[in-house]
Amino acid sequence: MLTRLIPHPFLSLTLILVWIGLVNKFTLGNLILGTAFGLIIPMLTAAYWPNRPSIARPLKIAEYVLIVLWDIIVANVQVAMIILFKRETEIRSQWIPIPLELTSAEAITVLAGTITMTPGTVSAMLSADGGSILVHCLHTDDPDAIRDEIKSRYERRLLEIFP
């Protein structure tokens, strides 16, 4: 009964929080309206979410978000330094292929987004079967180190969240 009423608890929770954020004021009325949206929208859109992955360890998400936020700040400073202080000829860009262990589309999307937001890398495309991802690195001398860092720092954590 509960799973039929709330098919996507995380989507419902996100919708409620975003609604309260949008009206920018926490009142009972807003909470009720937000809850209504949180219940109705997942029901109406359930057909568009086939093969939805289950999230195994919700607390890991908080850890992941904090790590990514910190990395984004570091990435900003690193890229700014490269832009300001490296001569054009000294910037050695490389394409790096990374084999993926993640299988669900949602997890790969999160990983690709993370790669784009973090130090010196942009995710460019997937392989045709979704088994590897091509990453463009702004400046590196050691592509293997970048690959290992992405795999150990982000993919390992995502594997725990999306088993």
Binding site: V18, I20, G21, L22, N24, K25, P50, N51, I72, I73, A75, N76, V77, V79, A80, I83, L84, E88, I91, S93, W95, I96, P97, P99, T103, S104, A105, I108, T109, A112, G113, T114, I115, T116, M117, G120, V122, S123, A124, M125, L126, S127, A128, D129, G130, G131, S132, L134, H136, L138
Partner: protein, 127 residues
């Protein structure tokens, strides 16, 4: 508004201004499209972030209420920026880069811009 809040707001605005400038300067300086992609996807995140933090401090100091809109702007920015970057990168690859110029894919199938996806339906959960 007290002096501490004003100093914090100015600091956040100056930091965001610097990073916004560096991001735009990167667009001129870097030499091809994929390199230029790095400048707006990263350097400007902190640029926008700084303005949003300044805005939050300002409204908290002025009205005493925490404003959540800025967090939502951050959320939407983090959702949209990588997707835009991915579209631009794919378009660049399709138009300007030959299949031989990028490193070979380690799996059975080639890169999605150049090769067709496998036809099996059992793999539908993959991106």
């Amino acid at each position: 508004m007290n002096i501490v809040a004003e100093i914090l707001i100015s600091l956040a605005l100056v930091v965001s201004g610097i990073f916004g400038f560096v991001g735009s300067y990167g667009l001129i300086k870097l030499k091809d499209s994929v390199q230029r992609l790095h400048a707006p996807t990263k350097a400007t995140t902190l640029g926008v972030g700084g303005v949003l933090i300044a805005s939050m401090i300002f409204f908290y100091a002025k009205t005493g209420q925490v404003s959540i809109h800025e967090l939502l702007i951050t959320l939407f920015l983090f959702l949209t920026a990588p997707i835009t970057a991915n579209f631009i990168a794919k378009t660049y690859l399709a138009r300007n880069v030959e299949e031989n110029d990028v490193p070979e894919c380690m799996g059975e199938y080639g890169w999605s811009v150049y090769c067709d996806p496998p036809e099996t339906s059992s793999d539908s959960s993959r991106g």
